[in-house]
């Protein structure tokens, strides 16, 4: 990873030094507009397993450390400072435009050989969007189409956004029944799982 201490740049320029100068990690040409591409992770493997996310693509619903089900989504980017970024991810119902999950976090991107900055780790530098259970969802999370909005903000105000349709899915694993239960729009916290709740007719 290319790390440039801002303090060294300042010395070279004859400016005043400061031990508090922020670390910067330029990726690409920061005189150009920030470019981003949506990515996702299935919850297994490493950051090398983070993959581009196509419009209409599937994203896995994964049980994280606290419980519930999240989707791991984020961006790869270029023409940015990879060390001073904030990622906002939101899952929105395309019919009502209601956001049913949103998370905002600092992320760190590391320059790859392809000229793009990639999440330093899959777990901490992608959004952990808490999808299930959702008291607000009026359609099942699993199998339905949702609008995913991603925004990358660089300290100082430069920003980029992308929006695409995604299809969260419960992966075929030993958590399949539990996932379908918790991601059903009729699920209420405290109900027994993995029995699939009875649908109320809305999906």
């Amino acid at each position: 990873m290319l790390l440039t201490r801002g303090v060294l740049v300042a010395v070279a320029a004859g400016a005043a030094c400061s031990d508090d100068a922020p670390t910067t990690c330029p990726i690409g040409d920061r005189s150009l507009a920030v470019e981003i591409v949506a990515v996702h992770w299935s919850g297994t493997g490493t950051s090398a397993d983070v993959a581009d996310l196509a419009d209409g693509g599937a994203v896995d619903l994964v049980r994280p450390i606290q419980g519930g089900k999240v989707v791991y989504v984020g961006v790869r980017a270029r023409n940015v400072d990879g060390c001073n970024l904030q990622l906002t991810a939101a899952l929105r119902d395309p019919a009502t435009m209601q956001v049913i999950a949103l998370e905002q976090r600092p992320v760190r991107l590391v320059a790859g050989g392809d000229g793009w900055g990639h999440a330093e780790s899959a777990f901490d530098h992608l959004a952990n969007l808490p999808a299930c259970p959702s008291a607000a969802a009026t359609q099942d999370l699993d199998g339905a189409s949702w609008r995913l909005e991603l925004r990358l903000d660089e300290v100082g105000g430069r920003t980029a956004t992308t929006t695409l349709t995604v299809a969260p899915r419960c992966p075929d694993s030993d958590q399949l029944d539990e996932c379908r239960c918790e991601c059903d729009s009729d699920y209420e916290l405290g109900s027994a799982c993995p029995t699939d709740p009875i649908d109320g007719g809305v999906d």
Binding site: Q86, P106, F123, N128, P130, G190, A192, C193
Partner: protein, 344 residues
């Protein structure tokens, strides 16, 4: 005065007869008055963190359901928190595998440590009430719910009282650990209280990175809802905890005018009650945790050992232990209840 007199009487019976300590006292409740629970006292050795899970059932008391409109939660100094949950799907924290224990007004079981530390075990269990207040000055948190609002229980319903104590560098337990809970029966309330528990699962506060800020939202079900009370929870790297009313549409942090809770006290954050904050229909809450890395008094080795990335940057990550990990949790109480809510 009653407290003082009874405290003297208790000095011989209980083990808290240590210099300078005046035990808290909660009255025992008759079946007509409600349900009372007392844990035994327990040692919290220097350098130790304890988390125990006590299980008990709402006893049949002639009137079913039991509506409760007043809570009393008591803690000896040094507690990190006490949380009460409704037991639901059992994973690896099985009340029937616990050690039988006398909890004063009820009999129950206790599981000490082990699975009681592992949050996925109770991820599907609705929260009932919580307290983070255990100062010597105010060891009892009393909460009278809003007019006509109450929490509903049914006879035989199983609850978990989880108690966390710390006697280390960030928090100290100067005497012994002990918790108490009184559920006061309501007579004529008809509006049910609902709860919301939200947490940021993947957080990271590192030595070499800028002070991080994490935000999340939690959407309410359809309907009009008012916030009655709220408290935030993080550990000693936490600088500011904020909760806002949120419209359910915007992806920008709400304006300061929408903020109804802010705390900079990590160790004893107050429960803010007496609120009547309407949440926008179709909306919910937005919450934000701001952190500042600080050198761990125990050194970085144990903090680094917990880091899934093994970055060797003294990164505090998500976890229950106060000394080595961090949290970003919202405990919120609203009415009328549509359903209990979690966001994580």
């Amino acid at each position: 005065m009653r407290t003082a007199i009874l405290s003297v009487g208790l000095l011989v019976a209980c083990g808290d007869n240590l210099p300078g300590f005046e035990p808290w006292y909660l009255g025992e409740l008759s079946a007509q008055e409600g349900v009372w629970v007392r844990t035994p006292e327990f040692e919290v050795a220097p350098g130790e963190e304890i988390q125990d899970c006590y299980f008990f059932e709402i006893p049949p008391q002639g009137v079913d359901p039991l509506w409760v409109d007043r809570f009393q939660l008591a803690l000896n100094p040094g507690s990190h928190h006490m949380n009460v949950f409704r037991v639901s799907t059992i994973r690896s924290l099985d009340p029937t595998s616990g050690e039988p224990i006398d909890l004063g007004g009820v009999a129950g079981t206790v599981i000490r440590g082990g699975e009681c530390w592992k949050a996925p075990n109770w991820a599907g269990w609705p929260m009932v009430v919580n307290s983070q207040q255990s100062s010597e000055r105010a060891p009892v948190y009393e909460w009278q719910l809003p007019d006509n609002v109450a929490t509903r229980f049914v006879a035989g319903e199983r609850l978990m009282l989880q108690v966390h104590y710390v006697n280390a560098s960030t928090q100290e337990t100067p005497f012994r650990g002990r918790a108490g809970l009184n559920l006061h029966r309501s007579r004529n309330d008809t509006v049910e209280l609902g709860t919301l528990f939200a947490t940021q699962q993947s957080i990271r506060i590192c030595r070499s990175t800028p002070p991080p800020v994490y935000s999340g939202t939690c959407s309410m079900p359809v309907g009009d809802h008012k916030v009655a009370a709220v408290n935030g929870h993080f550990h000693s790297r936490g600088q500011r905890f904020s909760v806002y009313a949120w419209d359910g549409v915007s992806t920008e942090r709400p304006a300061d005018s929408a903020r109804f809770y802010q705390s900079q006290a990590w160790a004893e954050p107050e429960m803010l009650n007496g609120l009547e904050v309407p949440l926008p229909p179709g909306g919910g809450i937005w919450w934000t945790c701001e952190y500042q890395w600080r050198e761990p008094e125990i050194g970085c080795a144990m903090v680094d050992a917990r880091d899934p990335m093994q970055a060797n940057d003294c990164c505090y990550t998500f976890g229950p232990t106060v000394e080595t990990s961090e949290h970003c949790n919202v405990f919120l109480f609203y009415y009328p209840k549509t359903q209990d809510i979690v966001c994580f």
